[in-house]
Subunit: 308 residues, 2 copies
Amino acid sequence: MKLVTVGTVAFDNIETPFGRADKVVGGAATYISLAASFFLEDQGIVSVVGEDFPTEMMAKMKAKGIDQAGLEILKGKESFFWSGKYHYDMNTRDTLETRLNVLLDLDPKLNAEYKAAPYLMLGNLDPKVQAKVLDQMDAPAMVVLDTMNFWMDSALDELKRVIKRIDILTINDSEARQLSGEHSLVKAAHMILEMGPKYLVVKKGEHGALLFSKDRVFFAPALPLEDIIDPTGAGDTFAGGFIGFLARSGDHSFNNLKRAIIVGSALASFCCEKFGVERLLEITREDIDERVNQFIELVDFDIEVVRD
Amino acid sequence: MKLVTVGTVAFDNIETPFGRADKVVGGAATYISLAASFFLEDQGIVSVVGEDFPTEMMAKMKAKGIDQAGLEILKGKESFFWSGKYHYDMNTRDTLETRLNVLLDLDPKLNAEYKAAPYLMLGNLDPKVQAKVLDQMDAPAMVVLDTMNFWMDSALDELKRVIKRIDILTINDSEARQLSGEHSLVKAAHMILEMGPKYLVVKKGEHGALLFSKDRVFFAPALPLEDIIDPTGAGDTFAGGFIGFLARSGDHSFNNLKRAIIVGSALASFCCEKFGVERLLEITREDIDERVNQFIELVDFDIEVVRD
């Protein structure tokens, strides 16, 4: 098993200025593992759902090589539920309701196969749970952690303890500013890299993503889309494509991290085209390649001429 | 004379979360012409100032090849004054005060040399004044227009009439949405291109810039800066670098427009490093080349590997 992902598997109610969808399957681990499945035949998820979770979706995920030995199903209980409403700019949103339900019982116990996985994705969750999973791993070659401002507000010390132990942190720009207390993104990035991770990925939604190491920086735009239907899960899809691509290649050089950012951005762009995970279930590896080519064209320029 | 720029020449009071500067020289035509001066030895500005405008700055601009035959100096009157305060994100601002002063008397009359210029930059101004300048031109090879939401709110019909007659429009993302009535930037761009211009440049501040033609799109990031001291004039500096580069090369192909976008972005990044035009007066052509190289590195990736 190449990759283990811990994160939520959930139901979402999503409202945008252009439409709404109720009780669609969502959750960080769902988006991450589906995105990674384009690059990996063998991965597992660690999560918990209630009896209400559709077996049909579980079968679809299994068919894509997503092992569910780490997915607990709690009888008589309900799955984690999130409801949110996007603002007109589609880049910001309000949480309308969160029902933790089964998430309160999430106490991951990894089997030997999961423990031995070389890649670990710690999806957005209570940093205590993220640490508990990390504690059980044998010796992962790469650990990526995603988190949110919610945990910076409510569990900063625990979050910092787990950030110290990971390789790559993915957060958005305002979270990078919050975590570092620095307004300048460049300074914020360097302060965060001092906290432990070797790399920082700053996700900026429709404005793209930045990859920072101690001495390098790379920028990938988001693909300008005709229609953004639902950005929910785009950040998780990005992370899933990113770590899936890295796990497939086994190459952790900065140049390959850049490629992984482009691939993650391509996958995230698909995610936004329909509600929930629908689009991720439709696309093929060829669709992704085609979109990667659009990225190449989007940023390609040749400027020898300026030095005349 | 290669380029004529019409726009404000002004005093600004600028307040940011990190500092303030009072009565610094600003104005669209000032930033545009200084940026363009790195590529052109011979250009003119069309504007008006009061008796209070510093002759020292006029001499500095003249030394950079910026002709002032089109710059009226009104005795006993005061120059245009703008005062603004930036929000914490440095990407949005409030206008605190605008004193039009001499701007009320701006009634441009171009001499023969100005009329014959092949490049015309219509800086942000009342579209009636922009049209009046355009009316006087013999046959410019390229006309670039910059405008703002203020004119969309107050003089939309006149603005649309002048937009119909230009080659390239530069506005920010929210203005593109306002002008088209479309939320999707891609759709907004295509609607705006239907209004007349061959190209649209969407400026997104710290999030970069997009160049649209009817069938192509190019994205240039903004350079992540250690410190953004003052974004005032960054959009005008971008436009000045853009049209200056184009005017120097005479090449209007999409590929060369892409280069012009990168050069404009490089100049805009310098502009933000100090208050007012200070940084633009310090830098050299070599500084710009070095920064262009940083852009190349920032977005460079090689992704053959994804098609394994």
